[in-house]
Amino acid sequence: MKRIAWLLMIGLTLMWLLLTGSASPGNVLLGAALSVAMTLWFSAVRPLHPHLRRPRAALRLFWRVAADVLRSNYAVARIVLGLTAKRNVHAGFVDIPLAVRDPHALATLAAIVTSTPGTVWANLSPDNRVLTLHVLDLRDPQHMRDTIKHRYEDLLREIFE
């Protein structure tokens, strides 16, 4: 018996309600019916099912990322305005060995890295073990590796693995 993707169904229903902008009983029923049908039909095309083990950890990750987005926006704005004239800002690639294996966790990490200005996902080795990032203000590669590991990767493993 395959696990039923409750979260996906609830998420799709919520999305339907938000898009149509009404929470009347008939609309809720219609949205729920559509979500259940879509989840069941499309589960064949989506062979991997994420296991969201720790919702509270996901919330913690969300706030952490929000704070980092604020901070890195400020940092990149300073660089664009040339407010770092005294210090030589140089960009570069950094290789980061990854311990996280779950594809959904990797996808989430990609979203996090892309949404924080100053870091861009450049490459993932074919065996999913080494992530290459391009960093706008690369001061200390080891510091960057530790940041990814302790700020995001540990929490992602807690959530997905």
Partner: protein, 110 residues
Amino acid sequence: MSADMLPPWLLLPVSLLLIFGGLLTLLGSLGLLRMKTFYQRMHPPSMGNTMGAGCVLIASMLVSSGLAGRPVVHEVLIAVFIVTTSPITAMLLMGAAVHREASQREKREP
């Protein structure tokens, strides 16, 4: 009901958010112009993509909630779509650039 009939305590944060979001997006575009290499240019526009868009979306939520007289939050979906799709664009662009660089290097030193 038009937007200028909304109370000032709502319009003030909305205006501030719009100005701030616009400035951030402008800064991002300026960065696109000022940076030297392709890789560096990847970074600044994501400011408009994250906080710039975020500010405008929150402003939009406030105005439409004020106009409708009930919470309107479907702008959250726009944020969700941006966050889930932008990594794909970024990865494709970076992958193409890395690939191009590698093939040019190969041509120079066979």
